[in-house]
Amino acid sequence: SAVISQKPSRDICQRGTSLTIQCQVDSQVTMMFWYRQQPGQSLTLIATANQGSEATYESGFVIDKFPISRPNLTFSTLTVSNMSPEDSSIYLCSVAALAGGGDTQYFGPGTRLTVL
């Protein structure tokens, strides 16, 4: 399994500002993922971050709005830029790791973002 931590756990931000969320894993992993969970909804993948290459964004998400860094195999950041109230969500970091003979995806505790 993998133990994942995220900072901050929550934040309240003003419209037009940016917030950077950090994700730290206790082991080296190839792929890290960033998901968004809007209030009362399911999880939606924002992007996949591989070390040493640019992140791959899903339809509806762009690098200018959600820049991602992946400087090494245990760490990644997601920035939510020029925030608006519609960005209020839980943002979750996830990694794929081997467990029990199979490939499994584990999640961090999430960052609850409120934009005023």
Binding site: M31, F33, Q37, Q41, S42, L43, T44, L45, T48, T56, E58, I90, L92, S94, A96, G100, G102, D103, T104, Q105, Y106, F107, P109, G110, R112
Partner: protein, 117 residues
Amino acid sequence: AQTVTQSQPEMSVQEAETVTLSCTYDTSESDYYLFWYKQPPSRQMILVIRQEAYKQQNATENRFSVNFQKAAKSFSLKISDSQLGDAAMYFCAYRTWGETSGSRLTFGEGTQLTVNP
């Protein structure tokens, strides 16, 4: 594209009873993973159980078991001897098999489970 459907937005069960949560999915692939995740109010996504599509045997983890029907593309979760701590939102998720696919998870909309004492 793969889709995952959970047709029960809410379910309730009495403590110590058994409950089954439904999930169906759509895919043209033959090899894939299926998962059930639990999200309590703390919002932490907790892996409950995993099933590899090539395995005919249904996965079990203590009080949690699945009924995997590959031909019907159905993947239900059975919780036996329900406990108050089982109360949470449960998400069904699909993942393509190969590394080249990016390992992305496709989630259903979730089922909110209430456990009544």
